[in-house]
Subunit: 128 residues, 2 copies
Amino acid sequence: MREFYTITELTREFGISTRTLRFYEDEGLIAPVRRGRTRLFRPGDRHLVKQILRGKRLGFSIAEIREIIQMYKTPPGEAGQLRTIIDRVEEKRAELRQKRKDIEDTLAELDQVEETCVNRLAELRVAS
Amino acid sequence: MREFYTITELTREFGISTRTLRFYEDEGLIAPVRRGRTRLFRPGDRHLVKQILRGKRLGFSIAEIREIIQMYKTPPGEAGQLRTIIDRVEEKRAELRQKRKDIEDTLAELDQVEETCVNRLAELRVAS
DNA sequence: GGAAATTCTTACGTAAAAGTCAATTGACCG
DNA sequence: CGGTCAATTGACTTTTACGTAAGAATTTCC
């Protein structure tokens, strides 16, 4: 595993722009180190970018993604804080399960659509 | 099943604004009938709204939702068109399967977070 | 060592998806 | 018939998530 990635290496790997990565840094989602003014992305930063893009695909806003990322960085914290985190984790899981159900429902309806199409095609073949 | 719903009935049921429903109409996602200038939503319109909101939860844009909705309205079409639809259905399914995988991955990471928290809580209890 | 490429900051622009506000217009109720 | 409540259209505003452009500083390559 490489020690550092340049910004354009990551933009190419993930198909995003430099503007986007800098924006994510402004938003506090990633914090690459610097050599002079130039950003150096560590493997951990790269993994964060993956998680961010995964969140985006699922329709989470930057603010929501920031919350999720903060969960990943579980701080040593005291008991009350730990329980708060556990609660938030459960909330996010509920959201994700809802999305998963939405997906299953949509997939089922698309199956229906395809079946209808296939049947009509069969009818067309019989009629010809 | 009721014949018609008013706009505010639907806004209350789904927790959205009248502006939103009118916006969806402008965008061609729904087409409620009119009594004078007032919109009357039929059960079919209501179901469409459900599908739209499901799409939104999954992070689809209005344009993408419009595409999906058009698939549901499978037209009688000729063979070539039917095959085009089948192809598009398969594309959407691929997208949905990607999202489902993203969800599974995120859920797994959240499980990890929770486990870490629970373990630390246990340590705290031992130390006390 | 000079040109070309990469990176940086700063700032303004924009598309999508509504929110908000204003001015009407019916529709119903006592 | 007067009032009030719900609905409509139209215009302007806002927020999010970047795009784009300008100009300076580095770095890299021949």
